[in-house]
Symmetry: C2
Subunit: 494 residues, 2 copies
Amino acid sequence: MGSAATSGVTDAVFRPASVAVVGASSNADSPGHDYVRSLIDFGFRGPIYPINPRATEIAGLPAYPTLAAVPGDVDYAISCVPAPAVLPLIDECRAKGVRTLHLFTGRFAETGDAGAAALERDVARRASDAGIRVIGPNCMGVYDAVGGMAFRPDLPREPGDVAFLSQSGNNSVELMLHGAARGLRFSKVVSYGNALDLSEADFLDYLADDDDTRVVGAYIEGTGDGRRLFEALRRCAGAKPVVVLKGGRTGAGSRTAASHTAALAGRRQVWSAMLRQAGAVEVSTFDDLIDMLVAFAFLRVEAHALGAAPAVGVVGGGGGRAVQSADVCEEAGLRVPKLPAAIRVMLRERAPELADWVDNPVDQSILAGSAVSGARVLEMMLASPELDGLIANVGEDWVLGRPDAVDRMAHLVGRFAEIGERAEKPIAFVLGVADSPDETKWRAVEGGRQRLTDARLAVYPSVDRAARAMARYIAHLAAQQEHGGTPAAEGVRR
Amino acid sequence: MGSAATSGVTDAVFRPASVAVVGASSNADSPGHDYVRSLIDFGFRGPIYPINPRATEIAGLPAYPTLAAVPGDVDYAISCVPAPAVLPLIDECRAKGVRTLHLFTGRFAETGDAGAAALERDVARRASDAGIRVIGPNCMGVYDAVGGMAFRPDLPREPGDVAFLSQSGNNSVELMLHGAARGLRFSKVVSYGNALDLSEADFLDYLADDDDTRVVGAYIEGTGDGRRLFEALRRCAGAKPVVVLKGGRTGAGSRTAASHTAALAGRRQVWSAMLRQAGAVEVSTFDDLIDMLVAFAFLRVEAHALGAAPAVGVVGGGGGRAVQSADVCEEAGLRVPKLPAAIRVMLRERAPELADWVDNPVDQSILAGSAVSGARVLEMMLASPELDGLIANVGEDWVLGRPDAVDRMAHLVGRFAEIGERAEKPIAFVLGVADSPDETKWRAVEGGRQRLTDARLAVYPSVDRAARAMARYIAHLAAQQEHGGTPAAEGVRR
């Protein structure tokens, strides 16, 4: 865990000794129930205290009418009570020695109502006077699977090394669920809402020093202190890759951000310049955000491979996919050179009739029935000094049309996974989404993706997304190298 | 079916009276088996003749050693024999009175071998002398579910009104399978490979007049006659929307196209200008191709709604999704105006505390627990003259976290589907991919998509893809209107 010397965030925020859920509920369809359930399901090791004036037991745990009635210490409180009840709750927290208050409670400044905004300012003042740090209001709070902190029972149980901070609660859930399907696992996640006290800059400062975190993603709508955010971003991006999706880039977007988290969204150009100067990677869609986190989490690169217009080798899929792959790679800024001579020599020995025909990208349908497999070409591409990165299309739509589809898919993906596990160059695997209503096909594709992500490999749903992520990944590391040290590149080597 | 007066393609190409599969095989893992199986499974109504010198029966049908041995007439022959056997086959076809020869057989000019290219020219000459029209070589051939023609047993059985022509066999399969998952069904599909005789222009001429076809998609790598292609595209795009993915846009892409279908890919700028002038919609990724076909197949537009910078209303999803939606809509060229006054009046009556807070895009989490549903706002947006199009986020990741997830999902999607079915404005629904390894979640999302696509509604996997498709769709119709008639707009009104 980090030292967090420069941040308002300490380890206590992610791994408190005890948690009270104020406004806990027996109604399974309520946030006050979700928090209790999540803490239980994730195995939170300290005491969990449901607080509810009208219940004696919630989710199998003894409930208490007030914080004051709790028999032990309360380190961390989650507030699910309505906004008007928050000021008295702070007084109770102070009396009980609570260090951190997470306000799931919303309907403050984001409503646009002057009274609600004034109440929010009062909350800030009273918590500050009490020495209590506040997460939120209007947010999902903290996830840390090792410590047993979570805000929804269906989040990944297994911890990982990607951190995510999000001004939106729903985005944090979506990023975790869809990221998990791509193999991402998380060290710390925080949905921090209106950032009344602890801000994106505080969390970035903390994550910069957090040894559990190797890659950082962020969804940010606005900031109250641009200078501090810039410094925090620069420090964090100097230590590990930071990918940022800025919400509120447009007129309508910033108007919406104001009614969502009361954020001052600012001008897009200023943000983009700031992110670039800080060394962060800016993305503009949710898919791009996941794609870049997958790149930084799972692509591997040798130091020598960082050049402008890096060369890629592409295998797999039929002729149409080969043509598409070449187009999207070149359009993404990658070079697609002709097949390395060493591979052509191998082809001349083993499949002479194909030796002058097969090229890069390799059209798998040409190899079919020959003594040379696509996996063999992939292995030789890995060994070729002429290629900096690789893209391997699974080509599942062809495989799934064969009579032995399930076995064939498992074999092909297994071979790819073995090669990927040993690779010292970045390989992006392309496996389409499992959108077939046919359960057998769904299981075959889902199982294939699982096999690849279990091996900690980067999987993309289309070759254009793979090419764009690979190009940005290599360009980012090259830029880092150029600007002195290679902290980000070192950070992702394994 | 079309009159096809200007085209080498006649109805006989898609709906022959009888079919022989030359090189038919009992090996279930071979193309010679797939074609026989597909014709049987799709209920081809004429006789199917497997031709194999060493078999008496294939897939339950009597097999014949040669075409000459077939007792009845043979209208259409599918060749799965190797390239050197094709010239003698043409002689047999001539003797038998075959009108159309589909050459699945490949390894001609695309190999780059001079002898193979010479053989291809001989094939062209001999077929032409025999008065036989050739599809291919090096292609999957024809799909027409009404007539019972198909090239893979797992293609959609139910016919539809979208046609697709593809220089790549694999792309035709991928487009049909992934398009089917988005609700697309097909009138005619042809994978035409090297286009030795019947070309993309011939098929476009035919589809322009085909009453079964309302929307046309194409994957084209190159052409032997740019002028003729332009005329065919212009005629077809004048009659119905035509969406084109050009393969071989880059240096590496055109080199790959040459080794795939021996195509002369040409310069990208020339192609883009040609497509634009012809009134076709150019896309550059496979996802965009499907997204635009979905737009033309399922979005509906009122004539008055065609203006520059059309205004959209957005509902659904939490606050983060609302901000993202606003950003990607404006970046796609759509306006996101403030909530129409009539809706604010309704809110003031039913949920006064929210009336000054809720805006466009509508943050569903604000409405939760109030007397106003997102579906109700969507209905009012449909009725509002201030909005030209709508985007409805299902927000499934939130729904799937609730205890009654399956029922709630079904209810929400059902409401959306009912509203969509009655709508006279374009609505793009956003429902993410079903990538959860949890089978219950998979079924809930898959079932939701099915409900929407069964209602012939446009479903997109992300709000940015929905926004881009909506913007291009409206811009295309507006451009068509401006250039005189409104054939495309009329074509898609229902």
